[in-house]
Subunit: 203 residues, 2 copies
């Protein structure tokens, strides 16, 4: 019998959505448990490291969103075929995580500093990364790694899905290869269906 | 013929040392290229994502330190034996990266805020993580995962090796299981030899 999957996270995309994309892509049924902010303090001590998302697979619990995505990628056929390809996938994901951390730093910055930080982010940080990532997709035939769909592509599209809400603009709009990649992922039948039917969340 | 390995990084431990531990553990000869700060602006545009460390394996270049460590773990016999064990290793490493990011934020904070941030770090952030990690090592027979040495253990010991210099104190001093684990790694013959013979760097 297949194990049961349960994802516990806030009612937002953020760190949860890449996991939800992976599960949706693999047609894996899962309980999509969404915790209201006010219930979190009570639940926090019961999670492995006081953090969410947490994925339960049968009786076992996992934490750390990227580690969970990598695990699921192996179950749903989105991992690399050898060690070097996995390294390229991993380093792409880690680079996208660097962008996501910069976005989180922006969101949680003191109000007085936000405007200045946003300017640096828009003019320096984001173009620095996105120019290189756009070039990488161009060189890899429309995907991040070796001309084929991997979890690096799904992770990126899910990150953009959430980031466009945080940033109030789609950050890949002016990067043609990244934009085409995100559209390609969003048009995968199961991802399209997931995005059309998922709970509405603001970020 | 085995490929040649070349690691390019600053003359510090920080993000480079976990990679150096992995190479030393596997008895892999490598060129340990250390770039003076003043040479970095010229080199930066030639690196894959404007960042170091970069590991060259033969003609191929890799970036992102954790991705590189995971790749090397497979070469030197420190990876997990199945997907779930690898997930536990990965989530441990990602948790230690969260600590390292908190330390970096502290180091690069504005002078005016450092004292207050250090207090929060010492009284809240660090105990929050280290209590849980110490418990994890206790539950896993003196290692992070499943009573055996994995790259999560080497990565942690290398991170502490550098963090103790940043923090001017050994952060695991009061955590008996973590301290024993770090000592165990530092006493592995090849790590012991690496630490005794490596170039002296301040952090």
């Amino acid at each position: 019998m297949a194990p049961t999957y349960k994802l516990t996270y806030f009612d937002v995309m953020a760190l949860g959505e890449p996991i939800r994309y992976m599960l949706a892509y693999g047609n894996i049924n899962f309980e999509d448990k969404r915790i209201p902010r006010e219930s979190w303090p009570k639940l926090k001590p019961k999670t492995p490291y006081g953090k969410m998302p947490v994925l339960e697979v049968g009786e076992k619990k996992a934490h750390q969103s990227i580690s969970i995505c990598r695990y699921l990628s192996k179950k749903v056929g989105l991992a690399g075929i050898d060690d070097w390809q996995n390294l390229k996938i991993d380093s792409t994901v880690d680079t996208v995580v660097d962008i996501r951390i910069a976005i989180f730093n922006l969101v949680f910055a003191p109000e007085s500093e936000k405007e200045k930080m946003r300017e640096t982010f828009d003019k320096e940080t984001l173009p620095f990364y996105l120019n290189r990532l756009d070039e990488q997709v161009k060189e890899n035939g429309g995907f991040f790694v070796d001309k084929k769909l991997t979890w690096a592509d799904l992770h990126f599209a899910a990150t953009i899905d959430s980031a466009k809400e945080f940033l109030k603009t789609n950050p890949v709009e002016d990067y043609p290869h990244l934009k085409a990649l995100v559209d390609k992922v969003w048009n995968l039948p199961r991802i399209k269906s997931w995005r059309a039917n998922r709970p509405v969340s603001s970020i």
